[in-house]
Symmetry: C2
């Protein structure tokens, strides 16, 4: 038994293979009747064009590479996994396959690139999250369609899907301000990450426009990955410095959870003694009591936007680099309290 080919369809429908091909590819110049007839036999025969044959002649692979670091892939919170799912979903609609490649976060010049790149077995690439500059440079050399998601290069102007982090920072901080908090701390970590910097920026903007002065003592940053441990130790540093903090804005949910666990261990009640707000809305599987107020990031949407932008570039619809900011929103749960 062999797979159904375009020939079988052509014979069965009494047309030439060219006609079948034209129908498949929606080339307008086919009569409605013929089109219908062909479409019907395609369905009857359960015909699916061969990717290999198509790829050979069209010089397209139908594959899109998705690159992220191993750390991000294995991370507890399904942040990048959700972006991947969004990408996968949208890719399916446009008939593309996704090739997922994890890379070391310490990739350096000599290291080998994901195989689909060296073999040129892809039509475009999506890079999710922060990856090493050396890797980016190596990839850029191939000069292929490329979209960044949740990471933006300081220099260079590439198509990018970004969270509106500044807006999110403002949203979170404003919410605390509206609820009467005057002494609001920021716990960051990994401050060299553009997203975190922007969230901090939003925090400062909000304080400013509320005429509250920002105080470096209550802004805790370092350059570690934003883990729970990190959130916890930051909370301890913070409380040693200042006892009068009534609210903490943590730069992501994982950090926020660490903060809450540490406060809990110290007998400090959230939100009664201190309000805590996070960022990302990862809805981690945890016994979080109280549920975390946070800024929601549309992870699936970021994935679909990324594919759409990438396909635009592949199909030469967008010549120029574009940056797209996806909107965030405040999710009010129970870790914050009005102190007015």
């Amino acid at each position: 038994m062999h797979n159904t080919t375009i020939k079988d369809v052509a014979k069965e429908a009494n047309v030439s293979i060219a006609t079948v091909s034209l129908v498949i590819n929606n080339h307008g110049r086919i009569s409605q009747d013929t089109r219908k007839k062909v479409l019907k036999t395609i369905k009857n025969l359960n015909y699916h064009p061969s990717r290999s044959a198509r790829g050979l002649v069209s010089r397209k692979t139908g594959n899109i590479g998705f690159i992220l670091t191993e750390e991000h892939f294995l991370r507890g919170e399904p942040f990048y996994s959700k972006i991947f799912l969004g990408v996968e979903f949208e890719a399916r609609i446009h008939d593309y396959y996704i090739l997922l490649a994890t890379v070391s976060s310490s990739f350096s010049k000599g290291d080998s690139l994901p195989r689909f790149i060296t073999e040129r077995n892809f039509d475009g690439i999506i890079i999710a999250g922060k990856i090493s500059r050396d890797l980016i440079n190596s990839i850029l050399k191939y000069d292929m369609p490329l979209v960044f998601v949740d990471y933006s290069l300081m220099n260079g102007d590439y198509p990018t899907i970004l969270t509106d982090n500044i807006k999110g920072g403002v949203l979170a901080t404003n919410y605390l301000i509206e609820n009467g908090h005057k002494n609001i701390a920021f716990i960051g970590g990994e401050i060299s990450h553009p997203s975190i910097m922007e969230r901090l920026q939003g925090y400062k903007l909000a304080l400013e426009s509320a005429k509250l002065k920002s105080n470096d003592q209550v802004v805790i940053t370092n350059d570690d990955y934003l883990s729970r441990q990190n959130g916890c130790s930051a909370a301890e540093i913070l409380l040693n410095r200042r006892k009068d903090v009534t609210a903490i804005f943590a730069a992501n949910d994982t950090t926020a959870i660490g903060v809450m666990q540490c406060l809990n261990n110290k007998g400090i009640k959230v939100p009664d003694d201190i309000s805590v707000i996070g960022f990302d809305d990862v809805q981690a599987d945890l016994l979080l009591d109280p549920p975390l107020t946070t800024i929601s990031v549309p992870k699936l949407d970021m994935g679909t936007e990324a594919i759409q932008l990438l396909l635009g570039i592949i199909n030469k619809e967008n010549i120029k680099a574009r940056k797209i900011l996806v909107p965030v929103k405040l999710i009010i749960r129970e870790s914050t309290k009005n102190v007015n």
Copy 2:
């Protein structure tokens, strides 16, 4: 500029394209000299054979499908993600690409299959974790090479990579017994899952051979997914029933963490009041104090074993279905205590 093709290599090396092809595919009947010469020009020209062209003539796609449920993919603990990484790693060595597809855990007959299946764009499939019986049936209809990982069908005899759950259950329970515990509880959940049943079986075997009688009151199971919440509520049920439990064997780490958090909330100290042992060794990002004693499952190995078995089947090396048990080992950390 066009991609380097087999023609370019042939011309450059002064041989025919057939010779180049034979060299690439390791067909022995090529002289050492010619082989070396060709290999050298391949390297010089940075030539990579076109997948499309190869696939077209060889009727192989070079793709392997990896199927798991969306829930498993998005799960906090990187259990299946690590299996995926193992698969990816080994696949790369053998020059295969992995197509990752997530499916709904409630897949039923009418639903559409992953696209690589309907398009027959794969040479073999790996199914990771429990998926719906309807999905399995639909996939089996295609009669393609198939390997299960971390899930085994009750009926039917398919190639499968499994954790040695019974051994693990025995190991965990024995360790507690050796440390003087006589009243050991088992907290399961999702008892219909074969792995959990086997872990329970190991628990019972160990008690039996130590001449300790097992007591259904301290075996807590239901049919929920083994989440932290679940571990926590199970711990509460358990302690309401029996106050004299000195050790708890939780059927996976996530459950164990839930158990520990609940005990902590109740002021019960681990391991001073109660010892807790887990299963999986997921090394979740958490502030777990004390660190969890557990049974380690070689997740990456499971992935590599799966590919090797699958490739064996694809290349017709293994005619018969095989089941492979990967070994587990006890990881002693600080959540257990000797009470002798």
